[in-house]
Symmetry: C2
Subunit: 257 residues, 2 copies
DNA sequence: CCCAATTTGTTCGTATGTATC
DNA sequence: AGATACATACGAACAAATTGG
């Protein structure tokens, strides 16, 4: 019987990494939450018996992971920080930079997550939320007349999905859909797909989305699910015609739909 | 019309962060891939006109993100490194540390992803892969007789799912399922759920998994999908009886199923 | 086995920048 | 405006690890 849990190779950690881990456990042990201040550099130097440089590198490691932020000046210091969605997106994006994802890979996920999301939201959105969705839809109420408009409309239609995800009460669902959506937006921007107006994509996208909002308002979960299933299938088909392999690039944290 | 892409607040970057970003772009611009060596510290000090400490902090930032690794000695230096699954898992786990996920949240995702995974694998696994799955199943062929065995079996059953995910040709699917599965394993370990033998969970899990392997071998995608749907529904029900809110903790990169 | 060269890792002292009072 | 408290940055020296002779 193989060990249930495989602990990866021991892999000696450098001193700053050890300190970073120690600080992390320290924060957890004390139950410090976002906004709370960690001991100052000087105190940490004493606490860990290490030089300033080492402590600073440890802080940098935690900062890169999005776990702390530091401010200068009196009342400044290092503060526990809730990892932001942007940061998490960028860090996970780095992982997929080295995997080669295809359009099919991404749409296989979208095709199951998005319908489930829609079904879960049916009948649970406030009038304000429904209005916000319709507001995004106005961005592509009319067919695009040039490449620039086409691109803007495509991004806006992805924004519709990101907005929908944000309304989910499930943080995992929310993050996953927004991550995948951002990835698609990133591709279209970097590859400049959709340079030629694609009337079919426009018409089908708009139609699906307005029917979806209607179903969400009516509280019809099954219909919402089915609409998004069809939409995903269609969008996949149209996307596949344009490109099969996604370009990868490091996401410079900050761009997010 | 709102801007299509929202760029988050300017937020001045510290010098090391700027350098880290510069190095990242540098690597991309030169098309350096995993294993390739970056210029030495000394060269970077000259290249960027900054002190050693600053350069080192920048390297640490990239190292924390899993993008580089450094080695000492002759022939040593800083090397581009493919972000590992373990690292990506740990970093994303930090994000969810601050979100409060419920069992329901996690199972809503599993319930749609796992059946889709199984359907995609039907008829595509080699005899060796099918044997590997059956091998894991032997870990819980007999009912557990005490709490320790119970726990080991539960982890092994999660390992079955992680192994299945690993066989997917879709890197996104693979990562997402393994991430969620690890998250569940982490919970059960930290909370020590399943301290009391739960015969129903054992019997149903084993039955579902053996039927699943049969369906996969037979190449029956629809049946595989349906089996996993039922399994997820049942596992969700049994888990929900035990706990509703997940404990969160920082994942100390390395533990992975 | 030891020695020398190379490259990262760590330390310390000092000085600068920045925000608060 | 000035003093204070904190992070930030610099530079020089030394330590540790690895490779090859």
């Amino acid at each position: 019987m193989p060990p249930a849990i495989i602990r990866s190779a021991p892999e000696r950690l450098s001193r700053p990494q050890q300190v970073a881990e120690a600080i992390k456990s320290w924060v957890m042990a004390n139950g410090w939450g976002p906004g709370e201040r960690l001991p100052s550099e000087t105190e940490m130097i004493a606490r860990f018996g290490m030089a300033k440089g080492t402590i600073r590198e440890a802080i940098r490691i935690l900062e890169a992971q999005g776990l702390v932020k530091s401010r200068t000046g009196p009342g400044g210091g290092v503060f526990v920080h809730q990892v932001s969605e942007e940061r998490a997106t960028a860090l996970l994006g780095n992982y997929f930079y080295f995997q080669h994802l295809t359009i099919d890979d991404v749409y296989q996920i979208r095709a199951v997550l998005e319908p489930e999301l829609a079904a879960g939201l049916a009948g649970k959105l406030t009038p304000a939320q429904l209005a916000a969705l319709e507001d995004v839809m106005t961005c592509y109420a009319a067919p695009a007349e040039n490449a620039e408009e086409e691109r803007a409309q495509h991004i806006a239609s992805l924004r519709f999905h990101a907005l929908l995800a944000e309304m989910s009460g499930n943080p995992l669902m929310r993050f996953l859909i927004r991550f995948v959506t951002n990835m698609l937006a990133d591709i279209t921007v970097s590859r400049k797909l959709y340079v030629q107006p694609n009337h079919e994509l426009w018409a089908s996208g708009l139609d699906y989305q307005s029917r979806l909002v209607a179903a969400l308002r009516a509280g019809d979960a099954d219909q919402a699910r089915q609409i998004l299933r069809d939409h995903m299938h269609n969008a996949h088909r149209l996307m596949r015609m344009q490109e099969t392999v996604l370009t990868q690039r490091f996401l410079p944290e900050g761009d997010i739909i």
